[in-house]
């Protein structure tokens, strides 16, 4: 079913009410950087139709260059599609201002090297910027009020970086910096959290920590999480649904068990893997073949 998912959904729900029930609703989205060129248009994303349900954790996976990060940028309104449209809780994303979007959607980029020695607390407080009060006499200073500080401390506690509050972001380790950036996004009090490879470059413990915190936020606050990941196993264990991209097209959407099959992974990634059930969760577990196995199996 998952392989033909787009075809099924476009027919059934077209009214505004059903679109509003989705956190995101993408219809026939085409996107490329610059202008379309060449015979096939040189699209980074082609005819992407995808729904994100409120309160779910959706994983976007796919090989290098399949358009994962571009898709996330479209969702964050950092780029605009050339054709097709995207609604955010029923409202057209193109019609929302950058600030309105930022009050609903928080985005954590993959690369977050920091050059300037802000403290962790200052960095987290920057997440309050979309909620600032405009006043004529503040001269752009806009001092944070009690609500801002409360939101920042809360998100720092959630990401367990309270003890780092006075440290400089330039001095943090990769894992600490990643947690700071997620805390900054949470301080935005978003309904949606978009993360680009949040676990890349992190060790095992930090990978687990970040995934379980995201899971907990989804359970307790109904946060919708869209996560781009290279790690098929993390996606399989932690995401409710997975969208698999290949060459800019969504080639499968569904639960991990529906999407992760040996045939599909061979088709998408071009290599044969072993899939069995995870001993604790029963969800699909992907293993690379050992060197002794013939690759054409």
């Amino acid at each position: 079913m998952s392989g033909r998912c787009e075809a099924d959904t476009t027919i059934e729900n077209n009214s505004a009410a059903t679109r509003a029930a989705h956190a995101y609703d993408l219809r026939g989205v085409h996107f490329c950087y610059g202008r379309p060129r060449g015979l096939d248009g040189g699209w980074v994303l082609r005819d992407v139709t995808l729904q994100v349900q409120p309160g779910e954790m959706l994983g976007i996976v796919g090989p290098n260059g399949s358009g994962k990060t571009s898709l996330l940028k479209l969702l964050a309104k950092l780029a605009a599609p050339q054709s097709g449209d995207i609604t955010l809780f029923g409202r057209h994303l193109a019609g929302l201002s950058q600030q309105e979007t930022a009050q609903t959607v928080a985005f954590v980029p993959q690369e977050n090297a920091q050059l300037f020695p802000f403290t962790v607390a200052e960095t987290v407080l920057m997440g309050r910027f979309p909620h600032r009060q405009r006043s004529r006499w503040s001269l752009g200073f806009g001092w944070e009020d009690q609500d801002d500080c409360r939101a920042a401390s809360q998100s720092m506690a959630t990401m367990d970086i309270t003890h780092l509050a006075a440290r400089l972001v330039t001095d943090l380790s990769g894992g600490e910096r990643q947690r700071t950036m997620i805390a900054r996004a949470l301080a935005q009090m978003p309904r949606l959290l978009l993360l680009d490879e949040p676990t890349a470059f992190l060790d095992l413990q930090h990978q687990l920590d970040i995934c379980s915190v995201l899971r907990r936020l989804r359970d307790e606050q109904g946060l919708t999480v869209v996560i781009v990941s290279h790690d098929l196993n993390l996606a399989s264990q932690y995401c409710d649904r997975i969208a698999m991209l290949k060459d800019g097209r969504v080639c499968a959407v569904g639960t991990p068990s529906e999407v992760m099959s040996v045939e599909r992974l061979r088709e998408v990634y071009g290599c044969t893997v072993l899939i069995d059930a995870h001993p604790e969760t029963g969800l699909p577990r992907i293993t690379l073949p050992g060197p002794t196995l013939p690759v054409h199996l």
């Binding site: 309104k77 950058q98 977050n112 920057m126 806009g142 409360r150 959630t158 003890h163 509050a165 935005q188």
Partner: protein, 386 residues
């Protein structure tokens, strides 16, 4: 992270409830008030006032000290008396003080104030450009913005703009045009690499500097010898005492630039995070860039048209201030403004008193102080310039 993080369901309530009861698993003292962890870690209004108050006081003291020294020493008592009589019109000074009064009010005071204004302007522009380009080495001199402004002024002088007060107050406009061209070229060159990597920005600056210097040398070479000599002296960064209306015009340019720049401080904070995070936080980055480019060009143009090319102030000062007061631009920008002013005022005082009666161009002093610092940053702190 929690030790129990492998089991997501073990302690959910302690982490997200708004009242945040003391979390026993957290290292360090228990949290009682919700905003306790932020205390001392963020810039508060009281710290802002304390730092700015101290810097203002220090600027005042240094100004008085710089007014004292020169070819003729003037005592503090005389300075206070002369200044108050000039301000409040109680002209009752004895005959012996008349020449001292002329030296102080017509020569030394305008020069000291010019030094302060120019330095503060360079400090503020340095802060803005560093945040905008996300490059801790950015500075109007290094990027070639100053030489762009110098070229604009040189062209105006070549075509005989004259030396009336009105003409002199219009020179900043020519400088503005020149520095704007330089900034736009740099930005286009560096943006060809998608984001603005530090080294490509610096390379763009080197190339621009070379081109503009060649053009300026060409202009100087076709001028009459006596005018070209004046031009060379100005290019090296000089601080000849300006007439009062010119000083006021300069102060007006700088004040407008500063006020508009200060309106962007919180946006500068977020731009320093990176362009994509800034846009995802709701900032119109393209518009902000245009505003900051225009303001930087305006202020650099004004400064260069009056005092020539004074290097490295815009780079050293923000660095040093950032080390002490932190990276928050709400404090960094105004503090760098005051510290830059003090730095250049003192440097100019050294320049005019070191080899009395002859003078060292102040640009020589700042370059001798700033050049080695630049090399230090580039070589020993390269880990911070990733």
């Amino acid at each position: 992270m929690m030790p129990s993080a492998g089991h997501p369901t073990s302690s959910p309530a302690a982490l997200t409830s708004p009242s945040l009861t003391p979390n026993l698993m957290q290292p360090g003292p228990p949290i009682t008030a919700i905003d306790r962890p932020l205390r001392g870690a963020i810039l508060t209004r009281s710290r802002w006032c304390a730092v700015m108050g101290a810097l203002l006081l220090l600027s005042l003291i240094l100004t008085m000290l710089c007014l004292q020294v020169g070819t003729q020493y003037i005592g503090m008592g005389h300075i206070v008396g002369l200044l108050s009589s000039a301000l409040f019109g109680t002209a009752s000074e004895p005959e012996t003080l008349r020449t001292t009064g002329v030296i102080l009010l017509q020569v030394r005071l305008p020069r000291v104030l010019l030094g302060f204004l120019v330095g503060s302007c360079l400090g503020a522009v340095g802060v803005a450009l560093q945040a905008l380009m996300r490059n801790p080495l950015a500075d109007p001199y290094v990027l070639g913005v100053s030489s762009g402004a110098a070229l604009g002024v040189a062209v105006a002088v070549l075509f005989g703009i004259g030396t009336t007060a009105l003409a002199l107050s219009l020179l900043p406009v020519c400088g503005f045009a020149g520095s704007l061209v330089a900034l736009l070229v740099i930005y286009r060159m560096a943006a060809a690499y998608d984001r603005l990597p530090i080294h490509s920005v610096l390379l763009a600056g080197v190339i621009l500097n070379a081109i503009f210097s060649a053009l300026i040398m060409f202009i100087t070479s076709i001028m009459e010898p006596n005018r070209s000599f004046g031009m060379m002296a100005w290019l090296m960064g000089s601080m000849t005492a300006p007439a009062h209306p010119v000083l006021i015009a300069l102060a007006a340019y700088l004040l407008v630039g500063l006020v508009l720049l200060v309106k962007q401080v919180r946006v500068l904070n977020i731009l320093a995070l990176g362009e994509e995070p800034a846009r995802s936080l709701g900032i119109d980055t393209e518009r902000t860039k245009r505003v900051i480019f225009l303001l930087s060009a305006l202020m650099t143009g004004a400064v260069v048209s009056f005092s020539g090319m004074i290097g490295f102030v815009g780079m050293i000062i923000p660095h040093a201030v950032r080390l002490v007061v932190g990276a928050d631009h709400r404090l960094l920008l105004p503090a760098s403004t005051l510290v830059g002013g003090m730095f250049l005022m003192v440097a100019d005082t050294i320049a005019r008193t070191l080899f009395v009666p002859s003078e060292v161009p102040v640009g020589v002093i700042t370059a001798l102080a700033g050049g080695p610092f630049f090399v230090y940053l580039l070589v020993w702190r390269k880990d911070r310039l990733a």
